[in-house]
């Protein structure tokens, strides 16, 4: 356990009669800290060690690899694509966040829901949807008679398409972060300016945006990190035309060279981790500098009431969403309704056979559904339980260590999935010590990676709920002699249960759609939905791939619908799309 005390500053500053683990709840603390260490610290150390080994073996060789034409080109491509997509995501995301926060549109809830749905739809599904939308065989464009002639390359393939799809996909991410910032802009500032007769534009330009500027910066950095780490979009839109990014390069190295490629892949993953890590740290630094004095006041609420502005904004948003979200999904559906890829959709050719038999005939598809459900379901349950303990321990017992523990918990989520996956391979490629069994190539390694990656998502709402709990009730229970286990299960759990469920479900949604991690970790029998989609697409089964994407998207949309229907049971803003639309109180 030496590494625990080395990496986590847990030793109390002053020595008490009983050391921290002997106090009540010490066992829980130990278990939680142990879990966090195993999930979040050990894999990363392993990656560092492996990269270190490669460098030790021969610094010149490592440098030669990192400076090789292919790595340099992939790095350049990654930076260009991440940068370009960030610009688009910022423009759209900030605009949507501003409109939804400042104007009480009639359909804002629906708009917010749709916008977040476009983020929850797997990136590879988005990529596939846009690809089917734009080519010469696009079912929608052909129906409208405006499809490009045969022989025209698909405009979605290559840099432009990747940046477009990625930018649209990450815009909701930007909007969510910016909305969190807008919620902290004091309402009184806006009211004062309005009393002075300031125009709406002046208020936005000179009051709201400057106050929320650090959130804007942080949102841009987040979108950039997401862009550097994204695998699904460049895999579908870049690899067919030879545009490699760092994550697709790692994938190709592992896929084509097997374990021989692992050391090089580890080195390239380190490069990704460094690029992404720099942006993550910059973002954390930015957020640490934000002015906390604004926190106490009532946040920004819808204030623009000009009917014409409302109309225009509402129409504009629906128009943009129709092109960016609805149309691609419709095209995906249309592609799934033809008997073979490339056939024009009309009444004579329409068939539901992809959904009724073709898809389900394949054991791969059935297995992928079962696997994705099992992996993400068990990850969600385990994470929900762990989150409760983690939030409790961090809030009550180790409050001083919070500043150290939380970044560690968030690190695997913040880092691209490729990095986590490679770290897990390195960790488990040899049989486990003591037990002597190997989980490499089994479903356990995927589950482990999911737990490490998505802990941060599950713990977020629970942390917020536990922190805001009154301590009085618990203190009364302590006086009554209730043990820590009693207090957790009888008092705290019932109150924070909705947050625990919300956190678990968010983790489930994201894990269910995930591709990056499983693309590198899958093996015989452990294919996930993402892997199955990539595989069908690779085998040239375009209509089947589209059908699978439609079903997966249906599952996600359905689950989000269930969450929305049950939103009264969750704490306010536990659902991301609600964060986009603050309610008006007066």
């Amino acid at each position: 356990m030496a590494f625990l005390t080395d990496t986590l500053p847990l030793r109390p500053r002053r020595r008490r009669a009983d050391s921290w683990y002997e106090m009540e709840g010490g066992t829980i603390s130990l278990v939680v800290i142990g879990a966090v260490a195993i999930l979040c610290v050990v894999p990363m150390l392993q990656l560092l060690l492996a990269a270190g080994r490669v460098m030790q073996d021969g610094m010149p060789r490592a440098l030669e690899l990192l400076a090789s034409a292919s790595v340099l080109r992939a790095t350049g491509n990654s930076l260009i694509i991440a940068g370009g997509s960030t610009v688009l995501a910022m423009v759209l995301g900030v605009a949507v966040a501003l409109i939804l926060t400042c104007i009480e549109l009639r359909t804002r809830r629906l708009l917010g829901f749709l916008f977040v749905l476009s983020l929850m739809v797997a990136p590879q599904v988005s990529a596939l949807a846009f690809k089917t939308l734009a080519g010469p065989s696009s079912p929608i464009l052909n129906t409208l008679g405006i499809a490009p002639p045969p022989g025209t390359p698909n405009p979605m393939l290559g840099f432009g398409g990747i940046m477009l799809v990625m930018g649209l996909h990450h815009a909701p991410l930007v909007a969510l972060t910016v909305a969190a910032g807008l919620a902290r802009v004091p309402k009184s500032l806006v009211e004062a300016a309005m009393l002075d007769g300031a125009s709406t534009w002046t208020i936005i330009r000179w009051i709201i945006l400057p106050v929320a500027r650090l959130y804007l910066l942080s949102a841009a950095l987040l979108a950039f990190v997401a862009g550097v780490g994204n695998f699904g979009i460049p895999a579908l839109l870049g690899l067919p035309v030879g545009v490699t990014t760092l994550p697709t390069m790692v994938y190709r190295q592992l896929a084509s060279f097997g374990r021989g490629g692992i050391e090089n892949a580890a080195l390239v993953s380190m490069l990704i981790a460094i690029i992404a890590g720099a942006a993550v740290i910059a973002s954390a630094w930015v957020m640490a500098r934000r002015d906390v004095r604004t926190d106490g006041e009532r946040g920004l609420e819808p204030f623009i009431e000009n009917v014409a502005v409302m109309r225009i904004c509402e129409w504009a948003l629906w128009l943009i969403f129709a092109f960016a979200i609805i149309l691609p999904l419709a095209s995906l559906l249309a592609t799934a309704l033809v008997p073979a890829y490339g056939v024009t959709l009309n009444f004579a050719t329409i068939t539901f056979s992809q959904f009724t038999d073709t898809l389900w005939d394949q054991a791969l598809v059935r297995r992928a559904f079962a696997n994705s459900l099992i992996f993400s379901g068990s990850a969600a349950v385990i994470l929900a339980v762990l989150s409760l303990f983690l939030a409790y321990i961090v809030d009550r017992r180790l409050a001083r260590a919070r500043i150290a523990i939380m970044p560690i918990v968030e690190m695997p989520y913040a880092l691209p999935g490729v990095v986590v996956a490679i770290a897990c391979i390195l960790l488990f490629v040899n049989p486990l010590p003591i037990l002597g069994i190997s989980i490499y190539g089994t479903g356990w390694i995927i589950l482990f990676a999911y737990l490490a990656s998505f802990l941060a998502i599950a713990v977020k709402p629970v942390m917020a709920a536990v922190s805001s709990l009154e301590r009085g009730v618990e203190e009364a229970a302590i006086l009554d002699g209730a043990s820590v286990a009693d207090r957790l299960t009888r008092i705290i759990l019932p109150i924070v249960l909705p947050s625990v469920v919300a956190g678990g479900l968010m983790a489930f949604l994201i894990a269910f759609n995930e591709l990056t991690i499983s693309a590198l970790l899958w093996s015989a029998g452990t294919e996930t939905l993402g892997v199955a989609l990539l595989n069908l697409e690779d085998a040239g089964l375009g209509a089947e791939a589209a059908a699978l994407a439609v079903v997966a998207t249906g599952v996600v949309a359905g689950l989000m619908g269930v969450l929305e229907a049950a939103h009264r049971f969750f704490p306010e803003n536990a659902l991301p799309w609600h964060q986009l639309c603050p309610r008006k109180t007066s």
């Binding site: 010469p136 021989g260 490339g342 093996s523 294919e527």
Partner: protein, 328 residues
Amino acid sequence: MNSLAKLLIAGASLLSTAASAFAVEGQLTLYTSQPNNDAQKTVDAFMEKYPDVTVTFVRDGTTRIVAKLRAELEAGNSPADVLLIADSVTMEGLAKDGYLMAYEDADLSDYADEMQDPERMWFPTKLITTGIIYNTNAPMKPSSWEDLLSEEAKNQVAMPSPLTPGAALIHTHSIVENLDMGWDYYEKLAANGAQASGGNGGVLKAVAGGEKLYGMVVEFLPIREKAKGAPVDFVFPEEGVSAISEPVAILKGTQNEEAAKAFVDFLLSEEGQKLAAEQGYMPALADVTPPEGFPSLAEINFLTIDPAEALERAEADKEKFAEIFGQN
């Protein structure tokens, strides 16, 4: 007398298959490069015959599935029992490294001997040729490999990269060996804006979707998609087509030798060959009628190669190709 003997032998072999069918049970893991739907059908038909065997299959492009397999074999924990991949050159490589199990008793009496591996490590199951696919809306109907160098085909040719699937590597080798132009052919293709990436599936999608008009592709994909109504057609070019045999092999480390042998027998049997034909493949067994849309075996003009030399030159060929098409 002769026919009586035949009858007796047939009866005996029937009995022996019936007897061995009894012992065939348990789990069997197949690693394959067949497209998912075909692999599924093959596995389903096998399991129908041997209900006590549960077959799981893993599918990826030949290069990738073999990379995965080799990684697992090196780690000593591969679940694979049987391997069914595109080409015999890759099989030769695995046999050379001692990963395959010889199956001396395989019944090859109906097969031509020159196609078979003398060491009985792997067995051809089909004949897959690579020719030219074109979109039916294309202005030109290609008839020879040289047509892909023409002005009409500028920026319109897609082909699989030999760095991914096994068939493409053999194809590259066959073209270079047989066309007078040799590597110049690929140089000219590259200069004509041909795009090389991914596997055969990607080429089919690009041409069926109209993003490219012509492509080099394995024949069964376009012939089958054409039957379903996709706007594509396939031609066997004048110079000839390259061919691979989609061999099957048993891994040395198999946990279920009986079931693995039964699987190989099944693929080689007339029943298995008819299934291949139903799936739209050219069967390896000459007696089985090829599927609709295929010329008879005798009509096809082949580009011939020496497999041993192909294996030896594989790395060099890949490098040369990567250099011409600027890939890493």
